[in-house]
């Protein structure tokens, strides 16, 4: 019985190791690649090389793609990275990439521009981090680009960018008496008809949990990926 037990445990451990190695070591960086801390410390306009995992991407266009990526330490926004249509099809959530580009800042959004990338072995999906308590604080910016959850947000207003469906949707939520601007970025998930219609149809006063990437435009402006109406 003891032997059987030991075998089961050994097998379980072995399986666990295999599973782990298949996903790669999320925290370990290859040679010449910056840690997230080093990336954060890098000056704007300097060249950066990062390894991270694709969390989502906007629609591919004209050999360019905009990617939301993360590792266990933080998140990255890779704006209009050079990418063939063939490679774009491989950038599924979780895919590990090594990207080289230049750190940039556009209206407060820290991003990597003029980047090229290669796909590496590894897989990781960052869980949504509950950042509700950081809304309206200076600490939220430390989580810029992260995948986040904001709980019990009350809808104040909904507006289509071009006054009608077919473009971005701007949603203002209130929480504890303060307004927060969110955006359903059409190129990120405009093709998700259910989500697009749900967000476009939100009514003032409805209370929701909202998931999204903590994008920045002159202040926090998360890109919505999921809304749960309570």
């Amino acid at each position: 019985m003891k032997k059987l037990f030991a075998v089961v445990i050994a097998l379980t451990c072995a399986l666990g190791l295999v599973a782990c190695s298949k996903g790669g070591d999320v925290e370990k960086k290859s040679e010449g690649v910056m840690t997230f801390e080093e990336y954060q410390a890098a000056a704007v306009d300097s060249e950066v090389t990062i390894e991270a995992y694709v969390q989502a991407h906007q629609s591919w266009w004209d050999n360019k793609i905009t990617v939301y990526a993360a590792d266990k330490e933080g998140a990255y926004f890779l704006y209009e990275m050079a990418c063939t249509e063939e490679d774009a099809a491989k950038l599924n959530p979780g895919t590990k990439i090594k990207a080289k580009g230049f750190k940039s800042e556009w209206s407060g959004e820290v991003e990597i521009v003029d980047a090229t990338f290669e796909i590496e072995d590894g897989n990781y999906i960052a869980p949504a981090e509950d950042l509700t308590s950081l809304l309206g604080t200076d600490d939220l910016i430390k989580h810029q680009n992260c995948f986040a959850l904001f709980k019990d947000m009350t809808v104040k207003s909904v507006a289509y960018k071009n006054e009608e469906p077919g473009d971005d949707i701007y949603v203002t939520f209130t929480k504890d008496g303060k307004d927060y601007d969110f955006c359903l970025e059409y190129y990120l998930n405009g093709s998700d008809e259910a989500l697009y219609n749900l967000v476009g149809g939100l009514q003032e006063g409805q209370v929701c949990d909202v998931e999204g990437f903590v994008y920045w435009y002159e202040g926090p402006n998360p890109h919505i990926t999921k809304v749960t109406v309570k």
């Binding site: 060249e47 004209d62 800042e105 209206s107 071009n162 473009d167 002159e218």
Partner: protein, 527 residues
């Protein structure tokens, strides 16, 4: 005799093939109907652009309602865009499926590309000249402008290949929005016409920092003294002011020249110090201007409601705004006595359809957009000006201008921007329009963006770097080495099947003709 018959036969086959191809892929040429058949119902689509401005959308909707009240048998379906590029891409996509809109807000550069399709865009000369339905026509149910009442410079911009392919809808130019307080703090007064040297010099002077690394001029950690929104316009305007080559009317590319190199070296010098940046690199000039982080901001007069510390529209938080005096001037000049500024703004074109009556209905609506009610109302939303003398001279418009600064609808910076263009209509220019001119415009902007970025990144920007940039931009925008322009890569379309078939048939025809000729010569020689 036999030879003649063979030749005639081959010619007939070729003509038939051409006609077949024409009919299968292109549109039939528009023929002007004698009268408008209002016993039928027409559903037309109108693709319009607004500047993320609800008032503009409402004006389009009101124009449609007013038009439909006059023509109840013409239903106009509005589709709104906030981006000219997206309209352009959607039109290109819809040309091959014959699902273009009927009426579309557009730029002449874009129309030149649309015209690659056969009879896709309707030439408007015949429609405009129609005594009954033309400009100011006798059978119109509205008081539209006569052709002589449209500002001639603006109407001329809509002519391509000597034909009228659009009507101007609104016109704007670029303006230099200045934080006058900062200029005074630097010890200067703002001249009536600002020179490039003035802007560069003061921008560098403003870069002085305090011991705590804040900028002395604003006490903040952020300052970009000079930001240009549209770098394609920046390059084009500078070249025009210096009377330097850009392109010929026929589409020969002349932008890669020594003057351009000199201009780029200047951009590099000031981007390196941080005194200059662009929209693409940093963000909207208005955001920095309104936060007291910019002295010289260049943006369209059609963006005037976003400029200045009291701007009715703003993307930055109230607590980040600074109070200062904003003044509006023409863009910087090399020769203040001979100012030159770009003419821009939306035009409206009519797409061809199988049914000429539907085209005529579209034309009636396009023309309705030039009536005073639409012109005055839309121009008041931003620093646009009406394109007709009839609207510009109307009491309503004059009153609007006279109320400058009285409330947010009459925001003084917006009216100053519009007045700037009204005062300088004869100083405006446009660039030649040809198939691919939109790509050349993109390339002009890319030169500045590439050089500015490289400079900011500490790279050496010298003549060798610029030569390499020319090569890269030529390749990216398909501007070949000989100077002629091919289609931009993302617009390049494979030849349609009918075109390929035509080419094959023509080759076969020539081979057959050659064979027949050789055979007849052989027979003749033998006999």
């Amino acid at each position: 005799m036999r030879k003649k018959i063979v030749c005639m036969f081959l010619a007939l086959i070729s003509a038939a093939m051409l006609a077949g191809c024409h009919g299968s892929k292109g549109m039939p040429e528009f023929g002007m109907p004698e009268t408008f058949d209002d016993s039928r119902t027409y559903n037309i689509t109108f693709w319009a652009k607004n500047d993320t401005n609800k008032v503009q959308s409402d004006i389009y909707k009101k124009a449609i309602a007013d038009f439909t009240a006059l023509y109840p048998n013409i239903n106009v379906n509005l589709r709104l865009y906030t981006d000219y590029g997206k309209i352009y891409n959607d039109v290109i996509t819809n040309i091959s499926t014959h699902t273009t809109p009927n009426v579309c807000i557009t730029y002449p550069d874009h129309i030149a590309t649309y015209m690659r399709g056969i009879n896709v865009v309707v030439p408007l000369d015949e429609l405009a000249a129609s005594p009954a339905y033309g400009l100011g026509g006798s059978d119109l149910r509205f008081d539209g402008p006569g052709s002589e009442e449209i500002i001639p410079e603006f109407l001329k911009e809509c002519r391509l290949d000597d034909k009228l392919y659009a009507l101007p809808f609104m016109r704007s130019t670029e303006a230099l929005y200045i934080n006058e307080d900062m200029v005074k703090d630097l010890g200067y007064e703002v001249p009536d016409v600002v020179t490039w040297d003035f802007v560069w010099d003061l921008s560098e002077k403003a870069m002085k920092k305090n011991a705590d690394q804040t900028f002395a001029i604003n006490g903040q950690k952020v300052l970009i003294p000079f930001i240009y929104k549209s770098t394609d316009n920046m390059m084009i305007s500078q070249l025009r002011q210096l009377n330097a080559p850009y392109s010929t009317a026929e589409g020969d590319i002349e932008i890669f020249n020594d003057t351009t190199t000199d201009l780029l070296m200047t951009v590099a010098d000031h981007a390196r110090t941080g005194a200059f940046s662009t929209f693409k690199i940093s963000s909207y000039p208005g955001n920095f201007l309104n936060a007291g982080q910019c002295i010289f901001a260049i943006d369209s007069t059609a963006g005037a409601t976003w400029m200045g510390s009291d701007a009715p529209l703003s993307d930055i938080a109230e607590e980040n705004k600074r109070s200062f005096t904003t003044v509006v001037r023409p863009i910087p000049q090399f020769d203040p006595d001979d100012p030159k500024m770009i003419s821009q703004g939306p035009s409206v074109c009519v797409f061809n359809k199988e049914d000429p009556q539907e085209v005529l209905a579209s034309w009636l609506f396009a023309q309705f957009l030039l009536t005073n009610d639409v012109q005055v109302a839309y121009s008041e939303t931003e620093g646009y000006i009406p394109v007709t003398k009839k609207a510009q001279d109307s009491e309503e418009y004059k009153e609007y201008l006279s109320l400058s600064g009285t409330d947010s609808d009459h925001y003084d910076i917006k009216i100053d921007a519009a007045t700037l263009l009204l005062d300088h209509m004869s100083d405006t220019f446009t660039t030649p329009v040809f198939s691919g001119s939109a790509s050349l415009r993109d390339a002009a902007g890319a030169l500045i963006e590439n050089v500015a970025k490289a400079s900011r990144r500490g790279m050496t920007v010298d003549e060798a770097y610029i030569a390499k940039t020319y090569e890269d931009v030529r390749s990216l925008y398909k501007l070949d080495a000989a100077g002629s322009l091919a289609a931009k890569k993302d617009n390049a379309q494979p030849l349609p099947f009918a075109s390929k078939l035509l080419i094959v048939c023509l080759i076969v025809t020539w081979i057959v003709m050659g064979a027949v000729y050789a055979y007849s010569r052989f027979r003749k020689a033998k006999s």
